[in-house]
Amino acid sequence: MKNFGVIKSLLKNSLLLAAVSIPLVGCQTFKDKVVYAPAGDVMQNLAKEHTVPYMLGTEDLAVSCAMSEAMSPLLMAFGRVTSNPDQLGVMMGLSAGACEEQRAWDNELRYLRAMRDLRPDEAEDALITQKRHLINASKRQFAAYNHLVNYYGEPGGECPDLDDEFDQFIWIAGMLAGLQALNNEIQSTSSIGVPKNIASKVERGTSCLNDDQWWGVPMAMKAAVWAMLPGALPQGENAWERLETAQAKGEEARVRLPNVMYAMAAFTNGKDDLVKDIIRRHADQVKKHPADPEYILIDTTATLQLQALSDRLWTENTGHRTPLGGLGTFWDDKKDSNVEVMELDDLL
């Protein structure tokens, strides 16, 4: 009888607990479903329909990078209450990865200066710092690639439905993120688990896009992989000719992203003179023909990436980066000998 009383009181307590906690749980679900989820959908749609196109039309890469670093947690957290914002995740990861890449470049330049000044300790420190940033960049870009895989499936197999322009754009961005993740992991000389077959998969994945519509970028990516991955070049193909054609397409469209792949392939293969030529031509084109207003950010990104390569060459040879307004010029350029001057002999 005593036991019965205890059981009764236990039952009473647990019923009370259940009665109290059910509305609490229900309240959270209510908030998630009625408040946060629609807000998340609105945010996702706003980002897709306005924020991304707006940013693409601006030229301040630092702002876009800072926005991605700051906004990623907020936007990606909506994945807890509504569909996972994978497409946005691709853009956020790619862009936030670029912030870390820039920090890595700065340290690469510090390393090069220290080596020139015969300061090995400083050089080593710069190299270590550079690698830390490269690891972070690679992680962010790999996360972007994984968002692509979540949403569209793995590149390299059957092509997904890339009905609208936004899908196609995200497809390019995700594959670029994958290639960069792999490249940055290799540069960092560490292993963070980026699969080494991304390059081959992207090489095939570019075939899902219309090369003319996307400024020659798909073919540039494909040909860059051919030029960089041993044994990847199909018989009868010429990676360098393809890269040159892609360069012309990018120029025609005034979205000159293929130049970055062209220059990277040339740099990797030790063709420094070709790298210089690509940078010269790019700088000249940018001066003469302003970027397509819809894709200013992409064109600016290309310029900044080439500037990073130029800075590396300048710093190695002079100790400082490309002088202001000097993109497209090099320290060893021959001075124009036909400059007009006055005869001074009779005055001296």
Binding site: D121, E122, E124, T189, K196, N197, S200, M228, T268, N269
Partner: protein, 339 residues
């Protein structure tokens, strides 16, 4: 006044000693070129690992200029022609510069990572310096790259006998592999590091051999398909070697680089382990203990004949036999001592 003088003297001393330990190198620098073979070039993993060694070399008075080579043959030729003061090559390529270290990739001579570690540690000792020098060249460091495995498109080829008449992608400059392939009655299909994977994946050869680090980047799983497999037996332990022209570097440089390389072993093994873990478990074909014993004996015969032909170095084979016997003292070869 005296106190002031002392403080002045102290601060001068502090400045002098600070600059001496700041890592700034005051002495004359030697500019030297280091030609690095990396199949991916200046953005590749080997090139980047070597780049990390530049500050250390600077502390030893050497300003290394790194040049990337995607073709190993050209890197070796340029080094021979004197265009590079130092070069990074695979162990087999390095054989023409040092027969002893060039024999470390001898077929079946190092069964696992454990023995490889022991070999590398042994050769890092200053006492081993003599073995590292050969004529005008010195091996200034060896880095492990993991076991070389046999990949087959058809897993019913699971014994040496089954290899008879099968086409094997064989590196055409590697005399030892050519001998081996012919020894088992298979047919040689000449290949290079750049095209062997293509030949395997498109079916122009039945069998290929490669380290695990090549598996994912070159998509060897495509050649393995549904019926293929990877034979879990270390055909050799691949390695990379840094060779320097002795007269182009200061005394003791080789040992310093070897000591530095030894600090990178763990990093290298981690990369190898990660690559091996990427091979799908169902692909591994595990030979029986009896088969393993048979292969070990067969490969030993091939090694001995290649030694007699002058391809492998006798001392290197002896060292590796001693290493194997340290781990497995009951092996019959330990009593026979034929190597």
């Amino acid at each position: 006044m005296k106190l002031l003088k002392n403080i002045k003297a102290l601060s001068v001393a502090a400045v002098v000693s600070a600059s001496a330990t700041s890592g700034a190198v005051q002495a004359e620098m030697m500019d030297r070129t280091f030609c690095v073979w990396d199949p991916i070039g200046a953005n590749g993993p080997l090139f980047n690992v070597m780049k990390s060694a530049k500050p250390s070399a600077m502390k030893w008075g050497i300003n290394l200029e790194l040049v990337a080579y995607t073709d190993e043959k050209i890197a070796a030729e340029d080094f021979k022609a004197g265009q590079c003061d130092s070069v990074l090559l695979t162990g087999t390529r390095a054989r023409e510069f040092n027969k002893f270290t060039g024999s470390l990739e001898a077929i079946g001579a190092i069964p696992s990572t454990e023995e490889m570690r022991l070999v590398l540690q042994t050769l890092t000792q200053p006492k081993a310096a003599k073995l590292m020098k050969s004529g005008e060249y010195e091996v200034a460091g060896i880095l492990p790259a993991g076991a070389i495995y046999l990949y087959t498109r058809d897993r019913t080829i699971d014994t040496v006998e089954e290899l008879q008449g099968k086409k094997v992608a064989t590196l055409d400059y590697d005399q030892a592999s050519m001998t081996m392939v012919r020894h088992v009655g298979a047919s040689v299909v000449g290949a290079s590091t750049a095209n062997f994977a293509g030949k395997f994946n498109n079916g122009s050869v039945d069998v290929a051999y490669a380290p695990a680090v090549a598996y994912t980047p070159l998509e060897l799983y495509k050649g393995l398909g549904e019926n293929g497999g990877v034979f879990q037996f270390s055909l050799a332990q691949m390695n990379f070697q840094i060779i320097a022209r002795i007269d182009r570097f200061p005394e003791g440089y080789g040992q310093k680089v070897r000591d530095y390389s030894a600090t990178r072993f763990e990093e290298a093994y981690k990369l190898v382990e990660a690559a091996e873990a990427e091979i799908k478990p169902e692909y591994w074909m595990k030979p029986t203990a009896e088969q393993l014993d048979g292969y070990a004996k067969m490969l030993q015969e091939v090694r001995i004949s290649l030694r007699d032909e002058g391809v492998y170095d006798a001392k290197a084979l002896r060292l590796m036999r001693k290493v194997r016997c340290k781990k497995n003292p009951t092996n019959s070869e330990c009593a026979e001592k034929r190597e």
